[in-house]
């Protein structure tokens, strides 16, 4: 400004202790990948049969990098590593990545820090689908998924579609309408789910297991069926980072910054729902990751979706991988319980340390 001086504000930038990494996102990406590699080796090693990290690395190098390494391990070990442990830990990473990316997207899109991947009814839809799959007597396979996974996937997508369509006929502002419609449809589906569980008898445990979330059912075909959905949709979301950034200032300001708000909202909603549906189909309902990881990333690098999305992907993958390792070490408790027990205190600590006026 052409007036003299700028002495209105005396306070110098109050940068949190976390601020030091803020300008070095590449460092965070590097740390994230190291954490993922360690998780991969640990995740393969931990379980009813403990596998030596050296063997793990040798088997992985031998099988996937084609290195000519003399076999010092048994064939049984190799089978456990390749057929059981590896798809499991990779599934955990994939689901963590999906939930964190979807969470960051829903938070940005709905401009609501409390949003998570399940906020618009996908969770209830998926759970109801899974419950129906458990209860009906026929068995068939959808897209390499078992019936539970297939119907959960369809249930999640169906519920978000219904929410979106219903929300458009309301006189409310679009975002308010979406959130409230999501809440209403979610409640209705939750009631149907409760009824299904009440009537399920012996199948209750199977439904309950799905609700708590776990990677027990992880297999290569399921992993490989979900991988392209999550990968392609997540990349498509990241390529729309500009739209999410524009929406930081509100829908009208976003429009003035060149964002076609209505179109971008529709596309991002569809992509994030697809990612969520794929994740809940193979893992059940794992809470906390999608809500918290994007917030932690924002505290570290700021709100730009260009950084938040990829770093959330890595952070979510790492978080769920370690949560699953801990769940197995603790005797197979549901991984969703671990994410909450470990994640909530961690998040509280982060919130206390953040000096950047963080509020939800």
């Amino acid at each position: 400004m052409t007036t003299r001086g700028g002495t209105l504000t005396t306070a110098r930038p109050r940068v949190g202790r976390l601020g030091s990494v803020r300008d070095r996102p590449v460092l965070l990406v590097g740390l994230g990948f190291v954490a993922l590699l360690v998780a991969l080796v640990l995740g393969v090693g931990v379980g009813s049969v403990t596998i030596d990290p050296a063997d793990t690395i040798a088997i992985l190098a031998h099988r996937f990098l084609g290195l000519d390494i003399p076999q010092t391990w048994t064939d049984a070990t190799e089978t456990i590593v390749v057929e059981l442990r590896l798809p499991r830990i990779l599934t955990a990473m994939l689901v963590g990545c999906a939930l964190a990316v979807a969470g960051a997207t829903f938070q940005g899109l709905l401009r609501n820090p409390l949003a998570d991947p399940y906020v618009l009814g996908t969770a209830s839809g998926a759970a109801l689908g899974a419950a129906i799959a458990v209860l009906i007597p026929v068995r068939f396979v959808i897209l390499e998924f078992g019936l539970i996974q297939g119907l959960a996937f369809i249930g999640a997508l169906a519920s978000i579609t219904v929410v979106y369509k219903l929300s458009r006929n309301s006189g409310l502002a679009p975002l308010t309408s979406l959130l409230l419609t999501g809440y209403a449809v979610g409640s209705l589906l939750a009631a149907a789910l409760a009824m299904a569980m009440y009537l399920s008898g012996a199948a209750l445990r199977q439904i309950f297991t799905y609700l708590l979330g776990s990677f027990d059912a992880a297999t290569w075909p399921r992993f490989l069926a979900t991988l392209p959905i999550i990968l392609i949709a997540s990349i498509a979301i990241m390529l729309r980072a500009r739209s999410l950034n524009g929406l930081l200032l509100g829908e009208q300001a976003a429009a003035h910054l060149g964002v076609d708000v209505r179109r971008e909202r529709r596309i991002l909603l569809a992509l994030a729902s697809l990612v969520t549906a794929a994740a809940v189909a193979i893992s059940g309902l794992i809470g906390f990751v999608g809500l918290v990881v994007p917030h932690v990333v924002r505290l570290l690098v700021g709100p730009s979706a260009r950084l938040v999305l990829p770093l959330s992907a890595i952070g979510g993958a790492a978080l769920l991988a370690y949560a699953d390792i801990i769940a197995r070490l603790a005797g197979g408790i549901p991984v969703g319980v671990v994410t909450a027990i470990l994640g909530a205190p961690f998040f509280l600590v982060i919130l206390r340390r953040a000096r950047t006026g963080y509020e939800v």
Binding site: M1, N245, L249, H256, P303
Partner: protein, 253 residues
């Protein structure tokens, strides 16, 4: 005067029953500095919404740099017009420099993000609007006035040929009001940026803007210099106040 950069041709806008704009014809040439004035509900903000393509008029046509606005996508519009956001209701902690950086979104490469040219424009806007002392702070912790300056810096960073402001001075103290006006004059005279501002303060409008457009009841009732537009009779008629309440600079009124 050079070619028209923003043109409204017989524009009418109706919200349900109420006519918000009635048969508005207005042409603003590149390099002009125009203040839109008028009482609350006169249609000033609606006029801006129509001019920026956010609102489709019931009748009439809007052209930006000669092209019909409905044929332009939002990015095309954003590269022609920078609009200072009315409010920044940020959902997440966002530093001042990150807010200003959002002004570069229309120029950003979708794959690579901000490039050196973008960073230079951001730094220049911060310097020019004088918000350098706010860097590093969460924009949500700022006073309303500080936030308003940050949003002006955002629009300046957008470096569009037209800058549009809707009541840019409401939260500013007197010194910053004058500062903001001097900035607009400087952007206009030095960079040739066309300025269109909705202003409530008639004295500021009269002093800093060579052209005033007075709206009332959805119509343009006067268009010209401060002396032509702000006559005592018109102030009494349109604003319903005694003209002696309005202290205008010498030469106007």
């Amino acid at each position: 005067m050079s070619a028209a950069i923003v043109e409204l041709d017989a524009v009418t806008v109706a919200y349900r029953e109420r006519r918000a704009l009635l048969d508005i014809t207005l042409s603003i040439a590149a390099g002009e500095r125009v203040a839109l004035i008028g009482p609350n509900g006169a249609g000033k903000s609606t006029l801006l919404a129509v001019a920026t393509g956010l609102l489709r008029p019931a009748e009439g046509r809007v052209r930006l740099t000669g092209e019909p606005v409905e044929g332009l996508d939002r990015l095309d519009v954003a590269r022609r017009l920078a609009v200072v956001p009315g409010a920044a209701n940020l959902p997440f902690a966002t530093r001042v420099e990150e807010v200003v950086a959002l002004g570069r979104l229309p120029h950003e490469d979708p794959f690579r993000g901000a490039r050196p040219a973008d960073r230079a424009a951001i730094a220049a806007a911060i310097e020019r609007v004088g918000v350098g002392h706010l860097l590093g702070r969460d924009a949500r912790e700022l006073s309303l006035g500080e936030r308003q300056l940050v949003l002006i810096a955002l629009a300046v960073a957008q470096s569009a040929p037209v800058l549009i402001l809707d009541e840019p001075t409401v939260h500013l103290d007197l010194r910053h009001q004058v500062g903001a006006m001097e900035l607009l004059v400087d952007l206009n005279e030095r960079d040739g940026t066309t300025i269109i501002a909705v202003l409530h303060d008639l004295a500021l409008a009269a002093h800093f803007f060579p052209r005033l457009v007075l709206l009332d009841g959805g119509r343009i009732v006067a268009d010209g210099s401060a002396a032509e537009v702000l006559t005592p009779d018109r102030i009494r008629e349109v604003f319903g106040v005694d003209p002696s309440f309005v202290r205008l600079p010498v030469g106007a009124a």
